[in-house]
């Protein structure tokens, strides 16, 4: 049995401008100890997917319209609040993008850090502080016994992100959801943070879901990657084959447009047009209006994610029918 199984998750936001279908029929599984990357541009639904499964979607305006999120046998979307409390923050932990805003500026690091221990493990305060200090040392914070008494503003961005990681890992979770954990930090700090998550993963054997817009971050870190576009998963594969044998035009276009993979001085490939407006109905493939391979059926046909090569799934109709090679 997989650790986490999402089936047909649909989340939308009911706004004044209509219903925005942020996540539209997303299904995937995550095995124990596996590292899954989710990439996509802003507005593709990658963060909303994570927030939905953690129950962090503000309702209203958000609404989870349907689907199941089964974590270790428990459906997180319709279990009792008490059951959810025992899983969230203990067995599933989350790291957010911006370490500047995800720590409470009024509360000492100490109290924020050990809160999950006090809630989930019911241990003595002094014992919890000891484990808090150990956790900070583990993430490479110098002089942890003293620094634990500081407030968030006394730390740099990289340090704060380390505190966030220490806090997420302190209950030894089975699943860590990292939502753009390195977007707000410099490359050198990014390398430190990714290394830290990788090491913790080896030690604890936890599964990691890494959400990022940066193909580079995902390529070195994940076993499997899925690409999202306009609220749907358009391609899902082992990291190697996703990068070397793309099976969806969007994935290929994305790779062609990053400077790191292109020879210097050449014009970069640009995807024409703009991402679609999710508050309008999108019949067929949402990428069709921008796709160089699009045919008539792309804008009408039903789009499903199908296996097109061993362990490689694509949502492109024409790839599925072997009409094109991307």
């Amino acid at each position: 049995m997989p650790l986490l199984e999402l089936s047909n998750l649909r989340t939308s936001f009911h706004t004044r401008h209509g219903i925005v279908r942020a996540v539209n029929d997303v299904s995937f599984t995550l095995e124990k100890g596996e590292t899954l990357g989710i990439v996509g541009e802003s507005g593709s639904g990658k963060s909303v997917t994570c927030y939905s499964l953690m129950g962090l979607i503000p309702q209203p305006p958000g609404r989870i319209e349907g689907g199941r999120v089964v974590f270790d046998g428990v459906d997180l979307l319709c279990c009792k609040p008490e059951q959810l409390r025992r899983i969230r923050g203990k067995r599933i932990a989350m790291i957010f993008q911006d370490p500047m805003t995800s720590l409470n500026p009024y509360i000492r690091i100490e109290d924020q850090l050990i809160e999950p221990l006090l809630i989930h493990e019911r241990i003595e305060y002094t014992e919890a502080v000891k484990r808090g200090i150990a956790a900070l040392e583990e993430v490479g914070l110098p002089d942890a016994a003293k620094r634990i008494r500081s407030y968030p503003h006394e730390f740099s961005g990289g340090m704060r992100q380390r505190v966030m990681i220490a806090m997420a890992l302190i209950t030894k979770p089975d699943l860590l959801i990292a939502d753009e954990p390195t977007t707000a930090v410099d490359v050198t700090v990014q390398a430190q943070i990714l290394e830290l998550i990788k090491r913790a993963q080896r030690q604890l054997g936890m599964a990691v879901m890494l959400v990022s817009h940066d193909l580079g971050v995902v390529s070195g870190f994940c076993d499997r990657v899925q690409v999202m576009y306009a609220g749907r998963i358009v391609e899902s594969a082992k990291t190697d084959s996703l990068f070397h044998q793309p099976q969806h035009p969007y994935n290929r276009a994305l790779q062609n447009s990053i400077p790191a993979l292109q020879p210097k001085g050449t014009a970069l490939y640009t995807i024409p047009g703009m991402p679609p407006d999710l508050s309008r109905p999108l019949p067929g493939c949402a990428f069709a209006p921008r796709c160089e391979f699009a045919a008539d059926k792309c804008s009408t046909g039903e789009i499903v994610l199908k296996e097109v090569a061993p362990d490689h799934r694509s949502a492109c109709l024409r790839v599925q029918q072997a009409e094109i090679k991307v």
């Binding site: 541009e41 802003s42 490479g140 110098p142 740099s156 961005g157 990289g158 340090m159 410099d186 490359v187 050198t188 700090v189 990014q190 390398a191 430190q192 290394e195 817009h213 940066d214 193909l215 580079g216 971050v217 995902v218 390529s219 070195g220 990291t239 190697d240 990068f243 070397h244 276009a253 994305l254 790779q255 447009s257 990053i258 400077p259 790191a260 993979l261 292109q262 210097k264 001085g265 014009a267 970069l268 490939y269 640009t270 995807i271 703009m274």
Partner: protein
Amino acid sequence: MSDAFLQLQNVKTHFPVERGIIFRRHIGEVKAVDGVSLSLLQGEILGLVGESGCGKSTLGRTILQLVPPTEGAVILAGKNLAQLKGRALRESRADFQMIFQDPYASLNPRMTVFDTLVEAIRAHKTVPSSELANRVSELMKKVGLSPRFLQKYPHEFSGGQRQRIAIARALAVEPKLIIADEPVSALDVSIQAQIINLLAQLSREMKLTLVFISHDLSVVKHISDRIAVMYVGKIVELGPATDVFEKPLHPYTKALVSAVPIPDPEREKKRLRVILSGDPPSPMNPPGGCAFHPRCACAVAECSRTVPGLDNFNAARQVACIRAKEIN
């Protein structure tokens, strides 16, 4: 270097740090830019990279005299901008423009695109009013936008389109030098590619000198002729873009390059990674000698005493490391 178009001579920008509410006392200085010398040819694209807080944005602003330099000279086409004041400075501003990072914050939300562009032109009176409309339409076409958008407001555009408008505004006065401070950092990858292509093409066609400030090395490598790497207010390495990226000389550049993730799983797994420990030092109180020595794997005792100058490594490349010859 007589044919240099833009020349910086030992430019320093220090910000005073004061404490106390009634009796302000001077307790130190943030040396944001601390002795930078550079020269650029006309039409050259210089990439300026470094971590946040290294002074790259301040250097950009200092060149444009948005922040007055504490010391040193900024010479643009023979004129020392640091000595210009008032009217003379305002007039010379037509020669240099800036593009900012966040196109959501840098455009006035209450002005139509037309007004935004016309304001820039009027400020320098380069076009008679009968030709304004024509000139503005031309600008829009130049940055790949349709002139029918002219009466729209910034909120009606996407991030990429707004950045195009910001570029059009910078081009409105026909500048010779543009400083682009992280122009693509706020944009998605597919949009980023469009803006990079546009800037490269404009610089080629109009012989624009471009200083491209970014923390993203792979973007900078792609667009620049030369790269300057900054660390705590100083340039530590300067050279042709491909060389700096592929064979970095300074230990800091090596760490920086190795930290950039490559979107290719095979290469990514094979390569050696230098992971720096700790954070960059505070520019208020940088370590003595070479500012990088506490984090440097190659540091020797001498490094904490001698401040390395930016010396020639070979004809094209300069590096500020006393052990550069030994370790390379």
